[in-house]
């Protein structure tokens, strides 16, 4: 078949090839990336629309049908109070996503600020102090630190987000610092410096945009780990206050029924695994693009 390509007049105007568009196409060409992306969209929609999607209310107890195995009425069975496990998983999505994304967002923000400062003035006292502090956080077992912080600050979403963000910050600080070290000697930064731009302006307007991509990729990958940490905190009872459904706590509160009703841990575990898998796949896809 003969195809005639007619030059698009709009492309003449924007002479530079649209890299972003091309990268998006490369990302979407791999089916596994799209599967991950679709799964994330699905999970987010399920969480947001929990009220309409979930077949039963999250806390509706029905003692007559307690500990039922999976069936068409209750796809993931019912727990010891007769609550529908699938509905609770759907309602629990919000808590898990909000906590993990909030924590990574906070860690990304704090880590970036620390990394920018440390990398722009390398080997200064500020750099040494900040980076040694990051080292110190990294040698404390992460779950232990998050656990202690979450308990001391008290239960609740905001405190959990803060506790989790502390253990994810050093990674961002280190990556940002190393990126800044390479970028700060590039001609465009030197040009801005010789044009008399202040440090803040250079960091914010010139350096930050050029290092944003790898940080966002790292952030995406970290959301997966943050979901696991959040679930582990919830498992140990340091998450949302029950009876609010959360995946980790749904597992731990049903441990005693493990021999009679193993399906009780299957549903929430599957929810955790699928979400983390989807986030990780998309993160890896983005990482491939940026490298």
């Amino acid at each position: 078949m003969l195809t005639v390509t007619i030059p698009d007049p709009r492309q003449e105007v924007t002479a530079t090839p649209d890299i972003r568009h091309r990268m998006l196409r490369r990302f979407s060409r791999r089916p596994i990336n799209m599967m991950g992306l679709l799964l994330i969209v699905g999970i987010v929609c399920a969480g947001l629309g929990a009220h309409w999607i979930a077949p039963y209310p999250a806390n509706a107890t029905h003692f007559a049908s307690a500990l039922r195995p999976p069936s068409w009425h209750h796809l993931f069975g019912t727990d010891s109070l007769g609550r529908d496990v699938l509905s609770r998983i759907i309602y629990g999505t919000n808590a898990s996503l909000l906590a993990s994304m909030g924590a990574v967002g906070l860690a990304l923000g704090a880590g970036t600020v620390i990394g920018l400062a440390a990398g722009y003035w390398p080997h200064s006292l500020l750099d040494e102090m900040l980076m040694r502090l990051m080292d110190a956080i990294l040698v404390i077992p992460p779950l232990v630190l998050a656990l202690a912080l979450a308990f001391i600050l008290g239960s609740g979403m905001v405190n959990a987000i803060f506790a989790i963000s502390v253990i994810f910050s050093p990674q961002f600080a280190r990556v940002v610092r190393s990126k800044v070290l390479t970028v700060r000697t590039l001609p465009f930064v030197e040009a801005a410096q010789s044009a008399g731009a202040g440090s803040m302006r250079i960091l914010w307007r010139h350096i930050l945009p050029s290092i944003l991509q790898p940080i966002l990729v790292l952030g995406t990958l970290d959301v997966g780990s943050a979901i696991i940490v959040e679930a582990s905190l919830a498992y140990l009872g340091l998450g949302l206050q029950p009876p609010a459904p959360s995946w980790g706590f749904m597992v731990s509160s049903n441990v005693n029924y493990l021999s009679q009703a193993p399906w009780l841990i299957f549903g929430p575990s599957l929810a955790i695994a699928l979400t983390v898998w989807a986030v990780t796949i998309v993160g890896q896809g983005l990482q491939e693009l940026s490298s």
């Binding site: 779950l143 630190l145 582990s232 021999s259």
Partner: protein, 314 residues
Amino acid sequence: MVQYVVRRLLLSLVTAWLVATIVFSLVHLVPGNPALVILGVQASPADVHRLDQELHLNLPVWHQYGDWLGQLLMGHLGTSLIYNEPVIHLIFQSLPRTIELSLVAMILSVIIGVPVGLLAGFHHGGLWDRLSLGIATLSVVLPGFVIALVFIYLFTFRWHWMEIAGIAHTGISPWINPLVYLVPGLTLAIGLAGPLMRVLRVEVMEAAGSDYIRTVRMMGISERRILWKWVFKNALIPGLTFLGTQLALLMGGVVIIEEIFAIPGMGSLIVTAIFNKDYPVVQGGILAMAFMVIIVNFLVDTVYALIDPRISYH
């Protein structure tokens, strides 16, 4: 070389001091009077006052900090508020269990991770590669507690090979039933082996494509010998170093695994202390675990510098 080791040692000491500072400030993050938080709101003012005195909470913060660091240097970590025993004793009771469990986990992760990782790198794209990707994916997407519960379900309820209560209640020695350590160890090992395989895989692929391997190959040495003598050997060092750097993560995993399998180690000690508001034990426990990580990191760096002469001493 000596200079490098001395520098690493100094850095480790600075890190240790900062960890101590973070651990000290943890308790002071408590909103309001820590003594009141520990005792509960119904506590009488006299009790609060007594605890204030006992924990020196009535002194200015910098004074408390100085005292605390001083005590720490002498090896005093305070007294447990619940057990009324020196924190250091509690740590020495719990630490061996955690070290044993971590060692079992490390050894199992090497047994699983090294062969699969090396084979995956050598036959990349093949069956072993898929297997390593599968295990690595599982280790990333499943929280440790889920893997632990699956094992408990299988080993305890399906096959009846071990007691769920673990060594805390039954007092079963690992020599009588090694499963009490092997199953929790395997749980932790899966989390470690996954990333280890991926690291080894990349290292083998890199080593196999390098110039010196091409040179040996041109000399007519058999593929099998090349693999064992050069490729695997060169891939193993980064792999094992990677394992060393994962210790902090492993220690974090230990916390929840010890809880689930009822192993009376550091993890159980700290978690119980956190829920009991036994702050001296929380502080001492976190410090002990972090110091262990610092020491192992230092040893790994030193050994790495000894093995690999290319490492820069700056």
